[in-house]
């Protein structure tokens, strides 16, 4: 990849030729406030927070400005600060904040920006929207949309369009009434939305949050147990329960992307209907048994039938859902007991 050298606040940095100034800065650990930029998406240039100055040329939106050989960029300055402050305050005015109750608290881009620009607490209190006057949309069982917190960065819209090609949501209405909406402003569950949650993952504020979110205490890397795509996931664990899942961005298969099943559908693991003890059918009903009782019975019955009818009397069906190791041992056991009658339900 071709490289260019530029100056960022007097620091000489090397960047990829295709990068924008914002990308180059973030790559070098230089923070420039930004809200509508997302590394997975095409730049939008909506929030104007990422404004910087190219020496000799004036102010520019860094998420849209490509790097160039030899340019010198200032990320700070009175004019920049003024412009950012106006943009940030406008966002905050329209943002219903009750940060402590917000699922995005401590993980919120708007908080980062307010802290960076240094908007004074009293002014913040006066500015902020205090009423939640727009209705929530909690029609989707997996996430809530709160237009009162939306900063109109358009990340969700672009995600739905660029990442998964669904296009369920868009900007609607004009001026102060602008909102993110589905076609005909219907609840999201009645739209084309496929509940993948990609927009929820990327929303920079608390306007899109998972339902009943609980932060995990630790994460374990694994693979989605549903379809054959084999998406990489991180399971979020709390105690001995799975409370969340997110896509593994390092997986070459899904690059962080997931569908509704892989992201939201782990209730089955902790479900009360899980079998927790061996069962033996006695007089037509299942009764609980110990492992020894159950396995002894299985062994005795297998032996009995094989003596009576020959080894071929035994047949096994293995599973497209258990591991390779288990499938391997399954056929090894049956073949060791003298039968090749092993198949898997690969048909459906």
């Amino acid at each position: 990849m071709d490289k260019v050298v530029l100056k960022l606040d007097d620091l000489e940095v090397m960047a990829n030729k295709e990068d924008t100034i914002l990308q180059a800065a973030l790559d070098h650990g230089i923070y420039i406030p930004h809200l509508c930029y997302h590394p997975d998406l095409k730049p939008f240039g909506g929030c104007r927070l990422c404004v910087v100055e190219i020496e000799g040329r004036g102010l520019t939106i860094s998420c849209k400005a490509p790097v160039e050989e030899g340019i010198a960029v200032r990320t700070e300055g009175p004019e920049i600060d003024k412009m950012r402050r106006v943009a940030a305050e406008l966002l905050i005015v329209n943002h219903y904040s009750e940060c402590l109750q917000c699922a995005r608290n401590t993980d919120c881009k708007l908080q980062d920006i307010a802290a960076y620009i240094g908007i004074e607490e009293g002014r913040l209190q006066r500015l902020k929207r205090t009423a939640r006057d727009l209705p929530l949309d909690d029609s989707n069982p997996f996430f809530i949309r709160d237009p009162n917190k939306c900063v109109l960065c358009g990340i969700c819209v672009r995600t739905c369009e660029e990442i998964n090609g669904v296009g369920a949501i868009d900007f609607a209405f004009r001026g102060l009434d602008t909102r993110i909406s589905t076609l005909k402003d219907k609840p999201i569950v009645e739209s084309r939305c496929e509940s993948c949650g990609e927009c929820v993952v990327r929303c920079p504020v608390g306007a899109l949050v998972p339902q009943n979110m609980r932060k995990p205490e630790r994460e374990v890397k694994s693979i989605c147990p549903y379809c054959g795509t084999g998406c990489g996931i991180y399971l979020g664990i709390r105690g001995d329960k799975i409370v969340s899942a997110r896509g593994d961005r390092d997986s070459v298969v899904n690059k962080g992307q997931l569908c509704v099943k892989g992201r939201f559908s782990y209730d089955f693991v902790n479900h009360p209907d899980r079998l927790t003890t061996p069962l033996i059918k006695r007089n037509g009903v299942f009764v609980e048994a110990t492992w020894d009782e159950a396995l002894d019975l299985v062994t005795a019955k297998f032996k009995e039938a094989q003596e009576k009818y020959g080894p071929e009397a035994l047949a096994g069906l293995s599973s497209a859902r258990v591991t390779n190791e288990e499938n391997y041992l399954f056929q090894k056991l049956l073949r060791s007991l003298g039968t090749n009658s092993i198949d898997c339900c690969a048909r459906l």
Binding site: P141, K221, I223, P225, C227, G228, T229, G230, G232, L235, I242, D250, V253, N254, Q257, V260, K261, F264, S265, D267, F268, V269, R274, L275, T276, T277, L279, K281, F286, W291, L295, V298, T299, K303, A305, K308, P311, A313, L314, G316, S318, S319, A320, R321, V322, T323, N324, E325, E326, N327, L333, R335, S336, I342, D343, C344, C345, A346, R347, L348
Partner: protein, 577 residues
């Protein structure tokens, strides 16, 4: 799959047929949509107007069961207009002339009459696919060796070969797997005729010819294509090293049996095993007396469920090992509680042949145990003396016995992100693209496959509709897992058979009516969904809901019938219930 998920977004042209990826493999569906955004030409060949059809350049909405005629017509147009990759054909394939001769009669006009697809659309589709820099083909994986739909695969492979699309990036064949580890179950030898890595356990007719062909004795078996695509890439198998040279009076399978017998310390049988269909449906004299069912629900998934129920009832003893008491477990004498994927270590193999690690995140629920631990305890009760202490130890044994597939895949390497087989040595990078420099047999084989009108289970006066099956985004398989999610259940509560509004009107049905659907084998009830996603005459159901067990209706004997959706279909009658 010959290529990777990652390459999809860069494809030049994409043909999707008999599969609905946006519902059944959604992330792959997203990638196909991304490819279209990036400029790929999309051709959807499906009787249903699946979602991808909405963004397709052409939708070839053919009559169910006529797909082979359609694919042959595409080949016809490509050859007639000289759009084939001549250099590729000359250097890498054989029997092009046979194909050329065979497809001669499949003119767009002739095939338009058979398929109901306008001749111009066929021509457009053929041009789009052949003129792109790279073309990939997505279709539903029937299954492995002994299965349905092989003929469609042959016809599709011809298209891929004609256009030089096998063995290069952003191209190739994408048979999509419905369940997370179908690939693994097959690769691990959970098939009656082969051991791990498709090493034949006995010399039945099928594997016999295959191996003889490998050794140069026989050639030109059309079924070879599906076998390769199922995983038995013979260039790989050819590289198996045997401890002892294969003697003339010892067949390959004898040698392999000897190798496994030695490794396992038991004598392996060379009596052919039964397929799942044979276990339940056919050959009553060979029917099994005891069944061990691990993690499957054949009562809902096997065609003609009634026979499966009867067979299970008739068995001397049935053991079911699962995480839930599913429909099949009701027929068990003993139920063994298994751990879920989150409660154990191990590996899965995805649809692109990538072996990936899963890790124990929580402990098994209650007294349940990992399937491998249960199997080991059973084995030891039979005096087999196994003592694996981890999944990794088992995997290392698989690697040792299957070096041509997994030799180089240590857990340590897999931990870094998975590897695609074949990966024969510890410094082998894995194989993202199959057939890159040469084919299994050195040369790509064109095979001829003619269109035959549906014989089995066609429609008639009594059964005027064609029923086909599909999957829904919000559910999976028989819902043993997704059915436990309140969220998913609230999104789709019940089965709703898709029916065209025109048909519904003809039958006097209202949107909220329940219908009785009757095939030559049984009937079930279902609610309906009025939608023009299905054309008049076709209805579609999923097999997700136990209340509407669609497989009760299906014909287990339709296997060599090529069916539109790649899934099974049959003639049905529909009445208001």
């Amino acid at each position: 799959m010959t290529n990777t998920v990652d390459e999809i977004a860069g494809a030049g042209a994409i043909l999707v047929t008999g599969i609905n990826p946006t519902e059944s493999q959604p992330v792959i569906g997203y990638r196909i949509r991304q490819a279209v955004r990036n400029g790929a030409k999309l051709i959807v060949a499906d009787p249903r107007r699946i979602q991808l059809a909405e963004i397709a350049d052409v939708h070839l909405q053919f009559k169910p069961g006529t797909d082979i005629a359609l694919f042959n017509a595409l080949a016809h147009v490509i050859i007639k207009e000289g759009l084939q990759d001549q250099e590729y054909i000359e250097t890498r394939t054989q029997d092009f002339q046979h194909l050329k001769k065979m497809v001669e009669k499949y003119t767009p006009d002739y095939v338009a009459k058979i398929t109901g697809v306008a001749a111009e659309k066929i021509i457009t589709a053929a041009r789009l696919f052949a003129q792109a820099d790279s073309g990939s083909i997505f279709y539903a994986m029937g299954v492995t060796q002994h299965t349905c739909g092989t003929e469609n695969v042959v016809a599709l492979t011809n298209l891929s070969l004609l256009t030089g699309n096998l063995g290069k990036p952003h191209a190739g064949m994408y048979p999509l797997r419905g369940q997370n580890n179908v690939q693994g179950a097959c690769d691990m030898g959970c098939l009656p005729n082969v051991l791990t890595g498709y090493q034949p356990v006995h010399s039945d007719r099928d594997t016999g010819t295959y191996w003889q062909r490998l050794k140069g004795a026989v050639s030109r078996q059309p079924s070879a294509v599906s076998r390769e695509e199922a995983g038995a890439d013979s260039s790989v198998i050819e590289s198996i090293e045997f401890d002892e040279p294969i003697s003339l009076n010892m067949s390959v399978s004898d040698t392999i049996r000897a190798k496994f017998s030695r490794a396992w310390g038991v004598e392996l049988s060379d009596v052919p095993g039964r397929t799942i269909a044979e276990m339940f449906h056919y050959f009553p004299h060979r029917r099994s007396r005891i069944m061990y069912i691990m993690g499957e629900n054949p009562v809902l998934t096997s065609p003609q469920a009634e026979l499966v129920r009867e067979a299970l009832e008739d068995m001397d003893f049935v053991v079911v090992q699962d995480i839930f008491l599913n429909e099949t477990a009701q027929y068990a004498d003993v139920v063994l509680p298994a751990a879920s994927f989150a409660e154990k270590d191990g590996t899965f193999i995805n649809t692109e042949r990538r072996v990936q690690l899963i890790r124990r995140a929580i402990k098994p629920r209650g007294d349940s145990k990992a399937d491998w631990e249960i199997i080991q305890e059973l084995a030891n009760r039979f005096g087999l003396n196994w003592n694996y202490s981890s999944a990794e130890e088992i995997w290392d044994e698989v690697r040792e016995l299957t070096p041509h597939y997994f030799g180089g895949m240590s857990y340590e390497r897999l931990d870094a992100g998975g590897l695609q087989w074949p990966c024969t040595a510890i410094d082998h990078p894995g194989t993202p693209i199959l057939h890159k420099s040469k084919f299994a047999r050195g040369i790509g084989q064109f095979s001829t496959v003619e269109y035959r009108p549906l014989a089995a289970d066609a429609t008639d006066e009594d059964y005027p509709f064609i029923l086909t099956t599909g999957r829904k985004l919000y559910h999976y398989h028989t819902r043993t897992m997704t059915g436990k999610s309140d969220g998913l259940n609230s999104l789709i509560k019940e089965e709703r058979m898709e029916i065209n509004p025109q048909d519904a009107e003809g039958l006097g049905l209202d949107a909220e009516d329940t219908v009785k659907v009757t095939s030559r084998r049984g009937s079930i009830k279902s609610k309906i969904n009025l939608t023009d996603r299905v054309p008049p005459g076709l209805v579609c159901m999923s097999f997700h809901f136990a209340e509407s067990p669609v497989n009760v209706l299906m014909n287990p004997a339709v296997c060599n019938m090529s069916v539109a959706s790649g899934l099974k279909s049959c003639g049905v009658r529909i009445e208001k219930a």
